[in-house]
């Protein structure tokens, strides 16, 4: 491996000196997240055991990406290094130092061809999305060929073929895709309206080794979408259908027990003008889990995901509002009478309003209000758990409730020095239905924060949060202080205190102290503290992390 890195380095030398003399672009980035896990006698789990560091207490995830572009060509390569091992609970397939992805691309106005690894998304991604999220350990790039062709300025045709990345390897299965999009505004020269329509096909071909097989190796999926807007009003919809396929309920158990098709319907509409916005989304999913290998369903590392099904709830930024996080429920799980799932149905509503400067509520500097609601239920219907297993769902009917969230956020700038924000969040989280464990958690959270500017670049931010919860770990309190010394140095201290826990030894403090340094495109951060066990979520997709304690160092830069 060392040789490979040296080779890349050396091969870049002529490229670099060359790129400074003409129009070629040389760019890239480096990111490193390192953690030194420590033993912590004071951090107890539910069985009163202290936290001990894992094997290989010093771990880091490192990524180096370099890209070279010249005229219509570009070439890129990404190396990844997990030493001594990947951070806790990352995909165990991330276990070495090696070249992870690479590509060559030729792009003109009409045609765009990529060979190697590429990222792609059709529509909203309900059938196909390949992307990278390092914090979650997701990189499901496709390796193969992608061709994007624009025969006319209002038609875009994408075709993809490839195998999906998993760890430092790719799956044996093949993925085919076609996506056609028409921009009818351009085609018909609409003046005040926009209209686009699109169609997609995605096929996954995976050989399955069953003596008798009630489904095809190749699973076909189709989608249609339309998006329309007129002045301040907009509406869009997407319909997806996945043909009959084995329903996998437990990781790696692919069989003929239940063979069903899947579907998804997404509807979004809204109206917005200056100072006011409203947006509503409805989504129904039935048996829409889609992996590049069937058996991957239920894996803990977001490995081999083919589609993107985020939970449509507000991505909360306060600490305590991220303890009970909803995860979308596209899959089928027929466990017992009280726990049957075939998908989800529900919606989300957002409202934004700006009280203008000079009005009664707006005061001298205005006031901004954001209101959000979301509610998600299981599908209802008839479920047969044994012999043979089956279900029939009703199209528009609501089964058991998974989750609801109602929240309001008010931000106000008082003057050039003071700014404050207040939030109230009410959540209902059905642990039994979502996680397959037990119980229901009702919680109320309030959060208040204030920022004070001492000088143009020196400021302090203080946040206080409290959560009342009736179940599981019960009440929490949290405080954060963030001090920005100047535009380069920032320091923070935060503590989450589970004071309401019924088990006295589990009334843990999850504290963290740290600082960061930024200059131009570089940021370095160092911190010491405890990590609360649970879900870490980015963009509606989550990763489970265990409790831990230690020192972390992260660095990122781009060039």
């Amino acid at each position: 491996m060392k040789k490979v890195v040296r080779l890349i380095c050396l091969s870049l030398l002529p490229v670099l000196s060359f790129s400074q003399q003409n129009n070629s672009v040389f760019s890239g980035g480096f990111e490193s997240n390192a953690q030194w896990y420590l033993n912590d006698k004071g951090l107890k789990d539910e069985f009163n055991n202290p936290t001990s560091h894992p094997e290989d207490p010093l771990r880091s995830n490192n990524y180096l990406f370099v890209n070279y572009a010249y005229k219509n060509w570009s070439f890129g390569i990404q190396g990844e290094s997990y030493v001594q091992n990947a951070l806790l609970n990352m995909n165990p397939k991330y276990n070495e130092t090696n070249v992870a992805t690479y590509f060559a691309r030729y792009k003109t106005e009409k045609i765009d061809i990529t060979a190697g690894y590429y990222y792609e998304q059709f529509g909203s991604g309900l059938l196909l999305r390949s992307w990278e999220d390092r914090a979650l350990g997701i990189n499901n790039a496709l390796r193969g060929v992608r061709i994007i062709f624009k025969p006319l300025d209002f038609i875009t045709l994408k075709s993809v073929y490839g195998q999906q990345r998993t760890g430092f390897d790719v799956t044996d299965s093949k993925i085919y895709g076609l996506d056609l999009e028409f921009d009818l505004k351009t085609a018909f020269k609409f003046q005040t309206s926009d209209l686009t329509v699109g169609f997609s096909y995605v096929g996954r071909d995976e050989e399955v080794d069953l003596p008798v097989q009630d489904f095809e190796d190749l699973t076909n999926a189709f989608a249609g979408r339309v998006s329309f807007s007129h002045n301040a009003f907009y509406v869009s919809s997407e319909m997806n259908y996945k043909a009959k396929d084995a329903v996998v309920q437990v990781n790696n158990q692919v069989n003929n027990r239940l063979v069903k098709p899947g579907s998804a319907l997404l509807l979004n509409t809204g109206y917005s003008k200056k100072g006011f916005g409203i947006d509503a989304t409805f989504r129904r999913l039935e048996n829409m889990s889609f992996f590049s290998e069937r058996g991957a369903k239920g894996n803990d590392f977001n490995d081999r995901l083919m589609n993107f099904i985020p939970s449509l709830t507000k991505q909360q930024h306060y600490n305590l509002a991220n303890i009970y996080v909803y995860q979308a429920q596209p899959g089928v799980f027929l466990a017992d009478e009280d726990l049957v799932k075939a998908g989800e149905i529900g919606g989300q509503l957002d409202l934004f309003y700006d009280f203008k400067k000079g009005t009664a509520l707006g005061g001298k500097n205005g006031m901004k209000v954001a209101l959000n609601m979301s509610s998600w239920n299981a599908l209802s219907g008839t479920f047969y758990i044994f012999n043979p297993q089956d279900y029939q769902t009703d199209f528009f009917s609501f089964g058991k409730r998974y989750y609801t969230d109602f929240n309001v956020e008010i931000t106000k700038k008082w003057n050039n020095k003071w700014q404050s924000a207040f939030s109230y969040i009410n959540q209902y989280y059905n642990k039994q239905m979502v996680e397959g464990t037990d119980g229901v958690v009702y919680s109320d959270i309030v959060a208040a924060e204030a920022t004070y500017k001492f000088t143009a670049t020196k400021s302090i931010r203080v946040v206080g949060e409290h959560m009342w919860a009736n179940y599981e770990k019960k009440n929490w309190a949290s405080a954060t202080v963030e001090f920005n010394l100047n535009s380069k140095f920032s320091f923070y201290a935060v503590d989450l205190y589970n004071y309401g826990n019924e088990l006295e030894y589990q009334r843990n403090h999850y504290y963290n102290f740290g600082g960061s340094f930024r200059k131009k495109s570089t940021r370095v951060a160092l911190s010491y503290g405890r990590q609360r066990g649970g879900l870490v979520c980015v963009g509606g997709v989550c990763r489970n992390v265990p409790e831990s304690s230690g020192i972390s160092l992260s660095l990122n830069t781009s060039f």
Binding site: V25, D183, S272, F308, P310, F352, K453, F559
Partner: protein, 159 residues
Amino acid sequence: MKNFIFCLLFIGINLNAQSNLPNVPLTNLEGKKVSSTADFSEKDQLYVFSFWATWCTPCISELDEINDLMPEWKKEVDFKMVAVSIDDSRTQKRVKPLINGKGWEFDILLDSNQDFKRALSIVNVPYTIVVKNNKIVHVQNGYVPGNEVELLEKLKSLK
């Protein structure tokens, strides 16, 4: 690991501070396809590209602040503000009502599958770059209150 760092330093030393903006296809809020280079190439015009997301609080603070100050700044220096949303399909539908609700007066671009973000090797938002003649002339990784003052100074010096 050592090799990685060595390689990085090596590249860093060899690089020009001024690098060209990559050409990435994006869409605007009306669904129209926009090029990151061709559509922002007016000669000597300063463009500020600020990468943000609806769920990113410091991003919103930064853009709120710039939006408030923009009328005053424009008296001192001419620049165009472009807010590039890296929201994925989970939160992208909130972009339009949010920017209107907030009354932001920027050009908004959607980087749905984060191709632009990746092309610039951006790890986290907020991330702000200043572009002149399709060259990146200034980079700001992150945001703390007060960074906007430095941004204004930088813009004035680049005029």
